[in-house]
């Protein structure tokens, strides 16, 4: 090969680089290690994390069983090691699966179209806001304080320089649901969208219909966000929303210290050309067989460049595939039963504690113990090999006495009883 290239050594291939840019020393990284040592290295790091504890953390990342089929499917090289399916004739596997994914997201959310994934829930909600701004030609976003605090932070980062203005509206101190009066008051004709999460950050089923009424009356779109996709198995889909944006981590994606997850955006047919991200559409091949391909690419950066609906290129395809397998394994009946188990567990736990809010909740709720700060409770629980809930003071100073607890189908009764004891 060197001969063919007309060089003496491969090093010569770099001889045209200006010598001032050349690195004249070796990289200061140790020599390569063997597969066995790599595994050992990561095993040791894993051992430095907590292991084998029960946990009542949720807050956007949930512990659910991961059906074995999920990893079986994504371990197949054909899915794992293929690129974005631009060449449809040799990518029908990925394309078909994404088409099924889009369909199932529509079925779950009650929307007409869904895209092939966004980076995560936080960027999905943010891109939904940008999409609403484009669709309405307005720049103001009203966002519920009960939207995941980190999602709100991302929204702030993205919108800051785009002539958009983000304002928050409150939640009711007793119910934990959105403060419709506050929203009503802040609503104006410049508002592009109202963003509400349901179940909201406190785990409560929020007042979508009221939010929709207010938003629509003001000429704004309603964006409904979710972080706990299992809730869609039992909770009325947000039919009044114009855009639904959320996170699918609950669909067999391991918590993995926060990623990779998969966000989605679903919307009404009329907004499809404002959507960010890839879309797969149905068509035929020259023999008349049904086929799928990436479509409506004129929204995307590789065609439209600075006029694209988003800068997203690489998305979370394999994670979306995992969610697709998850939805297939559970199916119509299973997702319902799974949601019911979550409901039963969280309500069992809640029945032993004092929920801070009176709104209806799915698998998370806020609780406090008079006189016992959350950190103290968590320290006590940790001694029993339990990681407690998320102390809320960090995000909501007014809730510094409270924690957010999540119970899923994986929560054991004995551990919940232990939590109750720690609260008592």
């Amino acid at each position: 090969m060197l001969d063919a290239c007309g060089v003496q050594s491969a090093e010569d291939l770099f001889s045209h680089l200006p010598s001032a840019v050349r690195l004249t020393r070796p990289l200061d990284l140790p020599a390569g290690i063997s597969e066995y040592e790599i595994v050992e290295y990561f095993r040791q790091r894993a051992a430095e994390n907590v292991n084998g504890h029960a946990s009542f953390l949720g807050a956007g990342v949930y512990s659910h069983f991961r059906p074995v089929l999920v990893d079986t499917v994504v371990a197949r090289g054909e899915f794992l090691t293929s690129y974005t399916p631009y060449q449809a004739e040799i990518s029908q596997g990925t394309l078909t699966a994404i088409f099924e994914f889009q369909t199932m997201i529509c079925q779950l959310t009650g929307m007409d179209v869904a895209n092939a994934s966004m980076y995560d829930g936080s960027t999905a909600v943010t891109e939904a806001a940008m999409m609403a701004a484009r669709a309405t030609g307005k720049g103001r976003i009203l966002v519920a304080r009960s939207l995941h605090p980190e999602y709100r932070q991302v929204l702030a980062t993205y919108t800051r320089n785009q002539g958009m203005r983000v304002e928050e509206f409150g939640y009711l101190n007793d119910a934990g649901l959105l403060d419709a009066e506050d929203l009503e008051q802040k609503m104006d004709g410049l508002t592009a969208a109202v963003i509400v999460q349901s179940p909201n950050f406190f785990g409560l089923i929020d007042r979508i219909k009221e939010a929709a009424d207010i938003a629509h009356r003001g000429g704004a779109l309603l964006i409904v966000a979710f972080t706990e996709s299992v809730s869609l198995g039992i909770i009325e889909p947000p039919a009044e929303a114009d855009i639904v944006a959320g996170e699918l981590q609950s669909f067999a994606i391991s918590p993995s210290y926060g990623g990779p997850f998969a966000g989605i955006i679903a919307t009404r047919e009329k907004f499809v050309r404002q959507m960010p991200g890839r879309l797969v559409g149905q068509t035929v091949d020259t023999s008349g067989n049904r086929a799928f391909c990436l479509t409506l690419a004129t929204r995307e950066q590789h065609i439209r460049r600075e006029k694209a609906t988003s800068n997203i290129c690489t998305n979370q395809a394999l994670i979306a595939l995992m969610a697709t397998v998850f939805m297939t394994v559970y199916g119509k009946r299973g997702l319902r039963e799974l949601a019911e188990q979550n409901l039963a567990k969280s309500h069992y736990l809640a029945s032993k504690l004092k929920p801070r809010f009176c709104g209806k909740f799915f698998n998370e709720f806020v609780a406090r113990a008079p006189g016992k700060p959350p950190d103290e409770i968590n320290r006590a629980l940790f001694k029993r090999k339990i990681i407690g809930g998320l102390p809320l003071g960090r995000f909501y100073p007014e809730l510094a006495d409270s924690m957010l607890l999540c119970a899923t189908e994986m929560s054991r009764r004995a551990d919940m009883d232990a939590v109750a004891e720690a609260f008592a």
Binding site: C5, L23, D28, R45, Y119, T328
Partner: protein, 490 residues
Amino acid sequence: MITKVRPHLSQNEPLLFERSSPGKHAYQLPELDVPAIDPRQALGAENVRAEIEGFPEVSEVEAIRHFTRLSTWNYAIDHGMYPLGSCTMKYNPRVNELVARIDGLAWAHPYQPETLAQGSMEIMARLEAALAEITGMDAVTLQPAAGAHGELTGILMMRALLEKRGNPRKKILIPDSAHGTNPASAVIAGYAVEHVPSNPAGGLDVGVLERIVDSDVAALMVTNPNTLGVFEQDILRVAGILHAKGALLYMDGANMNALMGIARPGDFGVDALHLNLHKTFSTPHGGGGPGAGPVAVKKELEPYLPVPRLKRSGKKWAWDYKRKRSIGRVRAFYGNFGVLVRALAYILAYGGPGLRNVTVDAVLNANYLRKKLEPYFDLPYKAPNMHEVVFSDERQAKHGVRTGEFAKRLIDYGFHPYTVSFPLIVHGALMIEPTETEGKRELDHFIEAMIGIAHEVETDPQTVLSAPHGTRTSRVDEVTAARKPVLRWK
């Protein structure tokens, strides 16, 4: 003669929704150890949904067959060479998949107390340090989920720095050869985009640049080597011009596979760059993602990095949220951690000398392809190339065959096509990046195929134009798909 593939039977498979039968299911849940609860009571009847219409109902074996059958319709790196230019489709080591699934890592919750997540944090710290060394930069954020996300993060930081200096400025310069994400990202950061024409050699035109860089210019986004696979010879001067005018140099690091251990962006004037861990650092593309797009910056930009930052506090790692000048968050939590684990595994496997070898082999492979194919294809830019080479379809177009059609015929020869029609500055581009993964045998097969098709173009263009012929799905009608979008099953 096609010697690389033969036709074989592959199973058909309906959509899940067509396969469903009422009552079938592939799951079983443990029995509840707490009292069941009436959802209508717990949630309020109005909040309880009806059954999910159309949702799948299949058995476990139907599920596994469904996805197995679908998978067999895909081409993949595990099947053969995947010479997509700009995509760096290299082998994805399987040990990386294993380590990312170790329980203590895979089940770590982002909100578990820092003292209970030291292993995860150490992994991130080590990766940050390795990437800083490879790029020659001072600090790294691992938060961005992909390259484009990294671009946005980088430009936002630059904007913040310029703001701090008194004026965020108005525009970002972007070469006409750049990837589409560059302008798209710049716009989200609130900038106007000005495209900079390339010089006849395909590189940055320093003369032009000197003229247009003024106090309105916030930064130049350069890809180096650029999308022609050509190293920007004048990069030091370019940096000088920008810096002299108070502007910054952003580098799209998608092509870092050409530079590891050879040259470092930090040493040639770059202020910030992103890396695509799903390209250079071998994490699998997974049919489109996930990836990770860490951003490496010089000291001056460090205060602007997204929160939280890893911080050493005593003998422990901690997350530092109190960083006044930070641009904030670009996503929830800390990044695509599972992808970061894989990338670090790759870096550990190769080590410093190994990564340099990766680059040398990648460049050698690309040059070998260039030399072997140059007699048959028009090479619009003749500068020495690094990790990829871009031909044009000029000769083939004379016979009525364009790059997109030529690409489809490659499928019949057993290859995934190269990147078609990019970069835009090459009319009818064939953008070929072999990566270091490919051995001489696979490269020679590819060369044979390319030459074979070039010959067909002259003797039997019809066969090429109607390709692919061997696939279970023949040419897909993308026009109809876009004209009457059917985006879900009904």
